[in-house]
Symmetry: C2
Subunit: 241 residues, 2 copies
DNA sequence: TAAGACACGTGAGGC
DNA sequence: TGCCTCACGTGTCTT
């Protein structure tokens, strides 16, 4: 074994090292630790003593550095475990990483959708809930819900209450009013359950519930509008333009 | 060594195994592989032959399974390397994971912001660009830009053109008009450059550019509004309500 | 040279 | 028992 040009400083932690090596040694009686130690002890007192000590110290440093590296990586993995939605924390490393990958892709899709353009309210009243993004994949499907009707001040709070009550996982929510009309579009997702597969029926039923809820918001609005028109004004007013 | 109650099927891949062991053996002449093989060959012909063979085969299986596991994990890591924004693919495993963590948190914040509520246009004209989310961290800062003014049909296309031209990384874009007023709010981010640190000056200059651009949109709008008022109508019209 | 990163084979422990 | 996952120390290559 070649030791190189060390400036031998004289310190000697051989004993300590051999002790720790014994401690961490395997249960096998003829392990290589034994080999190392014998080849070490038979030279004690020789001119290679420092050399061997250095090598051993280097080995110790090496394994400790490796341990630190492992700890760093595992720390990050633990953080990721906390970031992915999971039923329980028992997940093997590969599965965790796969989940992280799908999560990142999913979120990126959401971000893309969230930065899409404007919307213009049309003349006809409308409530619809339809599948929005089929290319999402990764056990996630999204719906776009639209409500378009005459603008009334109280409809906003009605709508907000309804959405809050449904506890949807919103991706985007856009509202615009134009002339006397308003249109609100929001996108929500139904992501996979804990069995990792999309529960299509559940999603569809959620979509139906949303549709119903929006329908009653619209109905309430048009009823109060009708009432207002009947009692006070002969015609629906529009902004003069 | 204890072998247990194997049903010895008679096959013998000892030769193959020892060959592969030599192949993967370290450069050290007295490695434990040598040890294993000697303790193996000296018993050839004994009643423990099958036992040893089994043990060796199990060891081989084990190491191969471990290799497959490593490959699986590394495959996922490679996928993640492709998902994080990076200048070059040379990245530490720990660094990669750290980046993934920040990316996930970042995207989650975006998703949260994207699902936030409504906005109401006020009476006074306004253009502002201000830091939006300071808790983002992870080398990412976001700005919220607002423009609020009288509604005019052409302002929407002006605004859209302006935003497209600036090529901002939009998080959220909300527009609402109420009475004759409109308000548009959008959130955009300036994420870290390739040196992993936020270029604060660059972000600020982008914010300034956005502010300027919105300012000219507003100016154009108010000028055309003024013109319309002067030429056609004595008073600004509002929807009667 | 030393320090860091990765792949490897292996022992331990959980079903 | 076998199979699987993880932690460990080490060899090797790169900077």
């Amino acid at each position: 074994m070649f030791c190189g040009k060390f400036s031998s400083t004289g310190y000697d932690d051989l004993e300590l090292l051999s002790h720790s090596l014994h401690e961490i040694g395997g249960s096998d009686g003829v392990s290589r630790d034994g080999l190392l130690l014998s080849s070490l002890t038979e030279r004690v007192g020789g001119k290679n003593e420092n050399c061997e000590a250095k090598a051993l110290a280097a080995l110790k440093n090496h394994s400790e550095a490796e341990r630190r590296r492992r700890e760093r990586i595992n720390g990050h993995l633990a953080t990721l475990r906390g970031l992915v939605p999971s039923t329980h924390q028992k997940m093997d490393r590969a599965t965790l990483l796969a989940k992280v990958i799908s999560q990142v892709k999913e979120l990126k899709n959401h971000a893309m959708e969230a930065s899409k353009g404007f919307l213009i309210p049309m003349e006809t009243d409308e409530v619809k809930v339809e599948p929005y993004d089929t290319k999402l994949g990764y056990g996630c499907m999204s719906y776009m819900a639209t409500i378009c009707c005459d603008y009334q001040p109280e409809i906003l709070s009605d709508l907000k209450k309804t959405l809050d009550a449904l506890q949807l996982q919103l991706v985007k929510s856009e509202m615009s009013t134009l002339e006397s009309r308003m249109k609100n579009v929001f996108v929500f997702t139904c992501c996979k359950g804990h069995n990792n597969s999309v529960n299509v029926e559940a999603c569809q039923s959620i979509a139906n519930v949303v549709h119903k809820a929006l329908g009653s918001v619209l109905e309430k609005a048009s009823m109060s509008m009708e009432f207002a028109l009947r009692t006070s004004y002969p015609n629906k007013r529009r902004r003069i333009c």
